[in-house]
Amino acid sequence: MSSVDTIQEHEATGVSNQKMAMWLFLSSEVVFFAVLISTYLFYKGKFSQGNLSPEELFDIPFTSVSSFILLMSSLTMVLSHNFYEIKNYEKSRIWIFATAFLGILFISGQIYEYTEFIQSGLTISSSIFGTAFYFVTGFHGLHVVIGVILLLTTGSQIGPNKNNRKYGLSIESLALYWHCVDIVWIVIFTVVYLIP
């Protein structure tokens, strides 16, 4: 890419263009999630109006397992990035698909959880708790889905005989995004599920 020669020709920070852009995007994402979680906290004091309380609904062991799965996907992402850096594209591809698989597992868990809750009577319109809960977890889930799509498409271009991401999103930027989405889940899990 052109970034290498431009750095020599210009007064630059030394951080590659794409990485800096990803950090800037993530800083915007962090504010996005901060506002999202604040929204939940703001409405938390008003939950009594609904007929279902969070404590009755949440299955903490189940969600803990799916949270653990999402956290482990950060580990597999690190492995994939590591193998990519040492140019072992075969293993890098395996671990990136493993990451995507764990992401899909997490999403499946979320879909299962949603169906359970909807059957118990918690919908977006049933109470303010329902609105806030689906708002926060739904937007996080959307980010995971986008991440999984990125992982799958990126993974399909990595391998011994592939172009190995000469263009487009680099593995490093993708890893940054994925870790950010994971870390945000720790906060959401704590705020939404664990704190009574």
Binding site: I7, H10, E11, A21, T39, Y43, G50, I128, F135, T153
Partner: protein
Amino acid sequence: MKTKSKTIYKRPTQKSKFVNLLTTVDHKKIGIMYLYTGFTFFLVGGLEALLIRLHLAQAESTLLSAAEYNSLFTVHGFTMVFLFFMAVNSGFGNYLIPIMIGARDVAFPRMNALSYWIYFFGALFIHSTLFIGTTAPPVGGYLSEESNLFSNAVAGGWFLYQPNAGIQFSPGTATDIGVIGIIFLGVASLISAINLTVTTFNFRAKGLTFMKLPVYVWMTQVVSFLLIFSLPFITIALFSVVFDRQFGGNFYNVAMGGDPIFWQHLFWLFGHPEVYILILPVFGIMSEIIPVFSRKPIFGYATLVFAGFAIGFIGFGVWAHHMFSSSIQPLAQAGFGAATMIIAIPTGIKIFNWIATMWFGKRNLNVAMLFSIAFLINFVIGGVSGVLHAVVPSDWQQTDTYFVIGHFHYVLVGGGLFGIFAGIYYWFPHVFGKKLNETIGKVHFWILFLGLHLTFLPQHWLGLQGMVRRTWWYDEGMNIEFWNLISSIGAVTILVGVLVFIFNWIFSKRKGEAAEFDPWDGRTLEWSTPLPPPEYNFYDIPKVKTRDDFWHRKYAVDEDNRSVSKGKHDEIKKYTLATTLMDNSHIHLPSNSLFPFITGFGLPFLGWSLIFRGTFMSFVLLSIGILSLLIGIFGWILEPEHE
């Protein structure tokens, strides 16, 4: 990879003018496209405002119906803030930033094109509210059922207060289209902000360290940070409205425990930084024009830059001054009032910097400078009436009256628009290689100046007399007819001024005085190119030694600290013009790409399919949207930046 992509899809080239328009990634062309589109929406928004003023010219007017009036002031606000102002600022930023820092293009040329196309299709999406939007009178409401172009558009004010803009009181699809359209525009602004930030950080010419950057670049940088950190607030806020309106959420449904005040907090947490997003680039434009036409370096460069950062920072802490009449605690009111007074200080620093730059300078009172001086006058008037709102009891008296309308139009029209016109007169030769006509320009300036004060000064008095904003009807004999009439006459005067400007634009583009190199004896790097600049901007990437480097190539400083010409003007000019004829095959520029256009094209379809969901039509719309996003994004990824 390369051979494969060539067989299925031939990369667009610049041969056809129309194809080039759709596929260009040149930052200058994209900047000009932003300016033209933005200015078109300025005319649309201006005509909407004119209709409002014509309606209010006399008491008990029936020119517009109440529903039309509500839609007109809402669409006027959307158009002017999001479609005109932000677009024109983006246009200036796109055109100027790379060329001011000695770069050949932005960091991500195709992303730049993408942000333009998302803005373009987002703007069309918002205006589709006029044609496919529906509104229905709320249950028990006073609005009569009618259907025409304007009464079906989004209504509820540009800040869409809940629950008034909720599903209960604003049924129909019009509001949804407005809300989702602004989400699209937010995406465009975010991409553009990230792109310009990376460009400023990584593409500066050798030697152009941060404290040597032109002030305009600094101000746009502050705006980029403001966008990056404030857009999430409006995105969440708008999505919460989509949740309420589309999926039956309860965020603003008071009966279910929702809280409408939360919307106000979210909106103004974005909305106040937004005010600075609009005005800071104009501060930057002022800081470029005033030194050039005073023939002095900018006074207090560092204070100007840091004042800009202070404004950006404090701008996040004053949002509740828009909400003093809401139920917020007295202590919070006192705190936000104090913060609002404090933010006047960095703004004041800037005003004194500009005055001190002009002081003892050899001022050249041409049109760009006239607009700049008028900017200072208008902005001080608008600023002083703004600080009045920091006094909470005074604000209770003025809020939601025409006093507020007068205040922010002084800032945005008298400040922002005048600054933009100054910028247009100043950089027009750079874009087209011809100067705008000075005589017509002076006529334009004085008509606009008169029109501004005629329109907005009486609105302060109307407001203090108690005329409420967004009011469709006022009875005769309330003693406010006279100033309303004057204000409407002023609005027509502004129209005349703008028409003179359009005439000047067309006239000067054809027959203007030619300017092939450095017409203003400029200070910054953008004037060191041939005019209009070639596609690669700089034949040699400049090497910078000092602030205002181009000036110091032409002038030395004697013992009394006065500038003395080095007598090298002709030599520099001759060489620069000669470079246009030299071989430039070693300069690699990014190639044209169609994929940003295709990606942007898909977004409105996704929006429409959400709004009309559950029908077969929505399925078709969804398919078109997803298909064009897929083609756009994957084509993009598989295509190298340049070949």
